[in-house]
């Protein structure tokens, strides 16, 4: 399905018109592709770390999605951001994990499935956020609170809750940039 030339473009166009389900499908289609690129570039680092990089790229693409012009092909746009962020993240992670790939030659095939388990980075960054931002992000991510109920839950108008959620994600990305 993702081989369809403009499948991603169609989803993202629908997303730009407010279709949240299409947007979730877009990101879900993106994740395995990103996982593949990260694995190809950094097979040597542990799969949890690699999934952290995938999450960082997804977050960046989300926050920069307005820089895609609908009349342009979507893949070059995605790959340009992904390439930049992956290289950036691996370079930063490389400082802490300078482990030569050779040492892992024997165990490499075993980590073929990089199935997402509990990821460290995002949670570590969540801990550093201000209380309200963290509570909003956790409510949506872990309890599945919908945008419509978010305002009621935190005593905000729906518009304010929407802005607060967006800002909280921006802060999360800023923390990741500063960290490492």
């Amino acid at each position: 399905m993702s081989e369809n030339r403009d499948y991603w473009g169609d989803l993202l166009r629908a997303a730009n018109r407010g279709d949240a389900a299409a947007y979730a499908r877009f990101l879900a289609a993106l994740a395995p592709v990103l996982r593949g690129i990260v694995r190809a570039r950094a097979g040597g680092i542990d799969s949890g770390l690699r999934e952290d990089v995938v999450q960082e790229v997804l977050l960046t693409i989300h926050l920069k999605r307005h820089t895609w012009a609908e009349d342009r092909p979507v893949r070059p746009w995605v790959y340009a951001i992904a390439r930049f962020k992956i290289i950036d993240a691996l370079r930063r992670n490389g400082r802490d994990t300078t482990l030569p790939v050779d040492d892992f030659a024997d165990i490499l095939p075993a980590e073929a499935d990089a199935d997402p388990f509990q990821q460290r980075d995002t949670d570590r960054m969540l801990d550093q956020l201000d209380d309200r931002s963290r509570n909003i992000l956790c409510a949506v991510a872990y309890e599945g609170v919908k945008l419509a109920d978010l305002g009621r839950r935190f005593g905000l108008s729906q518009g304010t809750a929407r802005v607060a959620l967006h800002r909280a994600l921006g802060k999360l990305a800023a923390l990741r940039r500063k960290d490492q």
Binding site: A24, L27, W77, I81, V140, L165, H166
Partner: protein, 211 residues
């Protein structure tokens, strides 16, 4: 957090990001217009401005910075799209640089080499460099704030382009005050000042324009 949870979280955020264009252009040009106008009100416009703007030698004081301001700004805006490869704009900037060098060389050939040092030094070097750099920096700062909304994969280059554009726009206004008609002077010092703003832009771009 699992990646699926993150995806659900991201899909809940339906607030679109804010566009780079045209905000970045206004944010860069408004401070330059304000600081540049104050500068001109305090120090005055050269009395022979109309004849200078139409003279074949001094018209370059506005023509080259005008093209450079346009191309620097549009380059910075284009680079805020991650996949863009704006090669044509680089060609325009290279043409501006070549024309400036040609203007410098022509003027050098038309006078004895003993006068070159004096021609380059001029009389208002310090005012020229500090004014253009100062006015240009105000635009660089404003533009950088809005350019952060973009997604450049070349943060240093984006900052450099914005700096060139801001420095060149500042030069357009400064040239209305500056009475020098000597290309060896204005090519050297206008050029150095614009380049200085460009370099400051490159350094700050690497820091603040990273996605």
């Amino acid at each position: 957090m699992q990646t699926d949870d993150l995806i659900a979280l991201l899909a809940t955020d339906t607030r679109p990001g804010r566009a780079v264009w045209p905000g970045a252009l206004f944010a860069a040009l408004c401070p330059i217009l304000v600081t540049g106008s104050v500068f001109l009100m305090v120090l005055g416009v050269r009395p022979d401005l109309t004849s200078a703007i139409t003279s074949p030698v001094t018209v370059w004081k506005w023509l080259l910075p005008f093209v450079l301001a346009l191309s620097g700004m549009s380059l910075a805006l284009a680079l805020s799209r991650p996949e863009s490869r704006p090669r044509k704009t680089w060609v325009v900037i290279a043409v501006v640089a070549t024309l400036a060098a040609g203007l410098f060389a022509t003027s050098a050939l038309m006078q004895p080499s003993a006068q070159w040092i004096a021609a380059i030094e001029g009389k208002t070097l310090v005012l020229c460099v500090t004014s253009i750099t100062g006015i240009g920096l105000s635009g660089l700062l404003g533009g950088l704030v809005i350019l952060r909304r973009g997604a450049t994969t070349r943060p240093g280059l984006s900052g450099f382009a914005l700096g060139l554009g801001s420095g060149a726009a500042a030069t357009l206004l400064y040239a209305m005050h500056c009475g020098s008609n000597e290309p060896m002077f204005f090519v050297t010092w206008y050029g150095s000042s614009i380049l200085a703003v460009g370099l400051i832009g490159a350094i700050s771009g690497r820091k603040v324009l990273r996605m």
